[in-house]
């Protein structure tokens, strides 16, 4: 039987991840703006946080695109690249969880959720690569 090798749960996860990431990006940006007004947030600390958020957004877009393409075309290469980028995203998410200048409770919540999603995606990507190979 010619069953499809593309992983449906992975695709669903990519789709949901896309929407969730848009929400995550806007929420983190809004909270950085809030922190800069309410707390003492010197430019020396504000600039790296904003830069890393932008890098994370670009990385996330690329990762979702490659992963989705690899999964749908059943090719290992883009999926492998996406897995590598997932590692980068995980590191950035851990940064926003623990090494940010101010970590609010809301930051902890959304970052934890993002890390959980990444973890699940990584497992499913590994399984998908194993299935394609």
């Amino acid at each position: 039987t010619t069953s499809q090798l593309s992983s449906v749960p992975l695709q669903i996860l990519f789709y949901v991840n896309g929407f969730y990431y848009i929400f995550y990006f806007l929420a983190t940006l809004a909270m950085i703006i809030y922190k800069s007004q309410v707390f003492s947030y010197p430019d020396f600390f504000l600039a790296p946080d904003l830069a890393l958020l932008c890098i994370m957004a670009i990385l996330e877009a690329l990762r979702l695109y490659l992963g989705s393409k690899g999964n749908l075309t059943e090719e290992e290469a883009p999926l492998g690249l996406s897995l590598a980028l997932t590692v980068g995203s995980v590191i950035l998410s851990v940064y926003f969880l623990t090494w940010q200048t101010y970590v609010l409770r809301a930051d902890v919540v959304i970052n934890a959720l993002l890390l959980f999603t990444y973890g699940l995606e990584a497992v499913l990507q590994v399984l998908a690569i194993a299935a394609f190979v």
Partner: protein
């Protein structure tokens, strides 16, 4: 050298670290090593003292309330126990907000920035930033320019403003004045456009005649005045007039006033010492001084004199103006001189003329004879006093008539004495009457009363000034409406040889109020001016 090496290794000093332990913080602990009343967190209090408290003034001590979880120390008094005791509990306070601070990676986030400790490197910068009354926001950029002169000031022109001391080459133009006692102090500067007149006492003696600087003319005109502040343009002080005052008080104006007279000893007197200086400064409307002149009164002291009284005055005139001091605006003010003048021949307008000269600068005043101590008419020359509005005056002298006096010269001399050298023809109606307004001047009416006889000599002059209140009820202005000068003459009887007669000569001024009773005038009732337009009833009319 060992000292510099030691400073190179000196660690950077910081202030005390902020205290953030809730268990050790106590806001109400104000007295050191003593128990504060009702302060439950005070470590200096013993249990016995806690039992005497009524409440806890500080019940909870926490850190920053925005943290998600923090330690809080709760103090309370347990009044049930006997004796009452203080209860301290350290609890974890949890902030339920979603946006509470879970963690920070920025050390100074939750406490105020400690101030910079001054060291030898940053002391100058800190002094520039915090050393003045206001803290400068940009210390670095200002620090570089503060030493160089500001280039924008170079183009700014300086000028004198009201009250600014008049600067001379070395210091300020001095107007000696009494400070605490009546002794002269030379440190009083003359202010621009500030009219000052001071009198003070200066210790002098004949022996120190030449050595006291402040009694010599040179002291007062020595330094030149700067035309504008901080400039190099100088104005020399010229000598306008010099009057010599003799020991008995009579003053004579000197013809040649260019010569500088120094104090010197002559016949046991010290002459040419300065008794009075009057500065006249001319200025432009841009605050620049163009001329400066000084009028001196020089006098003499004898051996018994220990001090002299000096008087100083300064007045300011704008260039190209000839100010006439007003005696009221518009009505006369009581105590100010009555202004008078002449109508020159062929000229329709009266002009106010200098009536009493000498060293003062009075313009156009009606004057009468001034009584002197000697009371001898023929000796009292040229001493006249101005007639002050509202003040009735009487003055006089005694005339000794001898047989040798002739009628006509005596009459002429007495007329000169009573009326002065130039008796005016017109008197100003208002205190501020201008010379161009003919109608504002009242002519002086002359009357003569005489007796029968061949030789009539004037013995009395009575000036009656009739004035009225003019203008509004609440602020009436005095206005002169009539001036009558009545000369009374008596017959001079021929005296036998060798006999003398003394007759009194009097001058008097009387002010009479001839105002009519005031009638208040009321405004007309307002009328309603309602007129219909002419085509109101159009179709019918």
């Amino acid at each position: 050298p060992p000292e510099t090496r030691a400073t190179a290794w000196e660690p950077i000093r910081r202030g005390p670290a902020p205290l953030t332990d809730a268990a050790r913080l106590c806001v109400c602990d104000l007295l050191v090593a003593q128990c504060d009343v009702n302060c439950c967190c005070d470590p200096d209090c013993s249990a016995a003292e806690f039992s005497l408290f009524t409440t806890c003034s500080v019940p909870v001590v926490t850190g920053d309330s925005r943290l998600c979880s923090q330690k809080a120390a709760v103090y309370s008094l347990d009044v049930e126990a006997n004796p009452p005791e203080r209860v301290m509990k350290l609890i974890d306070q949890v902030n339920p907000s979603l946006f509470c601070i879970h963690a920070t990676n920025y050390k100074q986030a939750l406490s105020f920035r400690p101030p910079e400790m001054p060291t030898s490197e940053n002391f100058d910068q800190l002094l520039k930033k915090f050393g003045s009354a206001t803290f400068s926001a940009e210390p670095d950029s200002w620090g570089m320019n503060s030493d160089a002169p500001n280039p924008s000031d170079a183009n700014e022109t300086y000028r004198y403003e009201h009250g600014v001391p008049i600067q001379t080459v070395d210091a300020f133009l001095r107007l000696p004045s009494p400070v605490v006692s009546s002794w002269c102090s030379d440190a009083n500067p003359a202010g621009f456009l500030v009219h000052q007149a001071t009198k003070c006492t200066r210790p002098v003696s004949v022996e120190e005649c030449g050595s006291i600087q402040a009694v010599s003319m040179l002291f007062y005109i020595n330094s030149s005045i700067l035309a504008v502040p901080k400039s190099s343009q100088m104005v020399n002080i010229t000598v306008q007039s010099v009057a010599l005052q003799s020991l008995n008080g009579t003053q004579t104006l000197l013809r040649s006033s260019n010569v500088l007279r120094h104090p010197m000893i002559l016949d046991g007197l010290c002459i040419n010492i300065v008794l009075g200086v009057s500065y006249h400064i001319t200025y432009t409307d841009t605050g620049e001084i163009t001329e400066a002149a000084a009028s001196f009164v020089l006098g003499a002291i004898d051996r018994e004199a220990l001090s002299i009284r000096q008087s100083f005055e300064i007045s300011f005139t704008q260039v190209n103006t000839n100010p006439v001091p007003l005696s009221g605006n518009p009505g006369y003010v009581a105590g100010l001189p009555v202004r008078a003048g002449f109508k020159p021949q062929g000229y329709p307008f009266p002009t106010a003329v200098l009536l009493s000269a000498l060293s003062t600068n009075r313009y156009g005043q009606l004057t009468i004879l001034q009584s002197t101590a000697s009371q001898d008419c023929l000796m009292a020359q040229e001493a006249r006093t101005p007639v002050l509005f509202g003040y009735d005056m009487i003055s006089g002298c005694k005339l000794r008539i001898t047989a040798a006096m002739k009628c006509q010269p005596l009459t002429q001399a007495l007329l000169d004495l009573l009326k002065g050298q130039s008796f005016p023809e017109y008197v100003a109606s208002f205190g501020n009457s201008q010379a161009q307004d003919v109608l504002d001047w009242v002519p002086i009416i002359h009357l003569h009363t005489s007796e029968q006889g061949s030789c009539q000599i004037p013995v009395a002059l009575e000036i009656e000034v009739k004035w009225t209140k003019y203008g509004s009820l609440v602020n009436p202005q005095a206005r002169i409406v009539n001036v009558t000068a009545t000369t009374t003459a008596t017959t001079l009887k021929q005296l036998p040889l060798g006999r003398e007669r003394t007759i009194p000569i009097t001058t008097s001024v009387v002010f009479t109020d001839v105002s009519s009773p005031a009638e208040p005038g009321y405004k007309a009732w307002p009328t309603i001016n309602a007129k219909l337009p002419h085509d109101f009833f159009f179709p019918f009319v």
